[in-house]
């Protein structure tokens, strides 16, 4: 059953449809949010608010948009609110990882450097990159982040360039 059909079924009162939809997307959505939040607790808050948004607006869902695009746009709006409140760049699990990475071998140190490089990116570029990694097309990323496709492409271009230059410096 497609995501859209499940949501429609839930909007008609079928709780099992929501359960199925939630289990299908909860982990991916949570990691997308978690990579952009400073703490696990805050990521849980954002994920909670996002799913509440899905529940409350299930009756308004328009099949013209893909469910995942719609879901991630709700999450995006929550993240933008978070960025405004904290006025800090993206986070990417750095705090959680720091201790574990210190005890690992060199490949993990390279990983730490990469994560730090990602963290240094402006949040719009990092978000575009994370959405691309999640498998969204440029058009879908544009719809989620409420921007133009050209803007998304240039954000991805800048992000890649920045990561490469950071790699060279390191």
């Amino acid at each position: 059953m497609s995501d859209g059909a499940l949501l429609k079924s839930y909007a008609d009162g079928n709780l099992a449809a929501f359960d199925c939809l939630y289990r299908r997307h909860k982990n991916k959505l949570f990691m997308y949010v978690r990579r952009q939040c400073p703490t696990h607790e805050l990521a849980e808050d954002i994920a909670h608010d996002t799913w509440l948004g899905v529940i409350r607006q299930s009756g308004n869902y328009s099949p013209s948009a893909k469910f995942t695009t719609w879901l991630y746009r709700i999450a995006h709006n929550r993240l933008v609110d978070l960025w405004r409140k904290h006025s800090a760049p993206g986070y990417l699990l750095i705090d959680d990882l720091a201790e574990q990475l210190a005890a690992k071998d060199q490949s993990y140190l390279a990983l730490k450097e990469l994560l730090q490089s990602l963290q240094a990116l402006p949040e719009t570029q990092m978000e575009a990159l994370l959405l691309k990694i999640e498998g969204f097309s440029h058009a879908e990323i544009a719809a989620i982040t409420e921007s133009k496709q050209e803007t998304v492409k240039s954000r991805l271009r800048y992000a890649t360039r920045s990561l490469k230059s950071m790699e060279v410096q390191a």
């Binding site: 929501f18 978690r34 574990q100 691309k132 719809a143 409420e146």
Partner: protein, 219 residues
């Protein structure tokens, strides 16, 4: 960015998650509970429509028919047997308020008084529709942030909720206008107005476009 670079990054990030790739069970329970409450509300709201459906069940319809038939029979017989005893109060009318029966060959038919109605302005409907279309095609609609800026909210959660609703609806409306499906855009706008009780939006999409561009609303 190449596919290879994306795959490498994806792998690296998946490694970096270190097993923390899920939210807590407590959160699962909270979300599913909220979903359950929402479903209960939907069922509660749709209860009257179930009642309406029940009206058309054969047994209910038969019962209604038999009651109506009895009443009709009773009244019919009553009229036939004792028509003189039924007093129908006449309408109160003064001398100056005589009914104008007019000139008609059938005395039972009252002629309709000649009410001269003001003529409608001679604007062709198609021209009007074209005008409304051009408003949507030519004037930009306000951004979600601008719309939100014009609204007042008691709590932040309301603002976030409205923002989601608005951004999804305005995106849909923009797409419809872009592809020339203006009626769909109007319908989507009306659906937004109905579903978003906290949104303070003008009556029509054309009005929204006109107000946004500082023009008088004559749509």
């Amino acid at each position: 960015m190449t596919e290879q670079q994306i795959n490498e990054l994806k792998q690296i990030l998946e490694h970096s998650d270190l097993g923390k790739n899920s939210n807590s069970q407590e959160l699962d329970e909270k979300i599913l509970l909220a979903a359950q409450k929402h479903t209960a509300n939907i069922k509660l709201k749709s209860a009257p429509s179930n009642f309406r459906k029940n009206i058309f069940t054969p047994s209910f319809a038969a019962a209604v028919f038999s009651v109506m038939f009895t009443v009709f029979l009773f009244l019919g017989l009553g009229k036939m047997l004792s028509v003189d005893h039924i007093d129908i109060p006449a309408p109160l009318a003064s001398d100056s308020q005589e009914l104008d029966v007019g000139e008609t060959s059938n005395p039972l038919i009252l002629s309709t008084p000649d009410i001269s109605r003001p003529e409608k302005p001679s604007v062709e409907p198609t021209a009007l529709a074209r005008n409304r279309d051009s408003i949507l095609q030519e004037l930009p609609l306000p951004s979600v942030d601008k719309l939100l800026g014009d609204m007042d909210f008691d709590i932040d959660a309301d603002r976030s909720l409205v923002k989601d609703t608005l951004s999804i609806a305005m995106h849909d409306i923009g797409k419809f206008i872009q592809v020339g499906e203006l009626d769909d855009a109007r319908q989507r706008y009306q659906r937004l107005r109905q579903s978003c009780s906290m949104c303070t939006l003008p009556e029509s999409l054309e009005s929204l476009a006109l107000i946004n561009n500082g023009l008088p609303d004559r749509s």
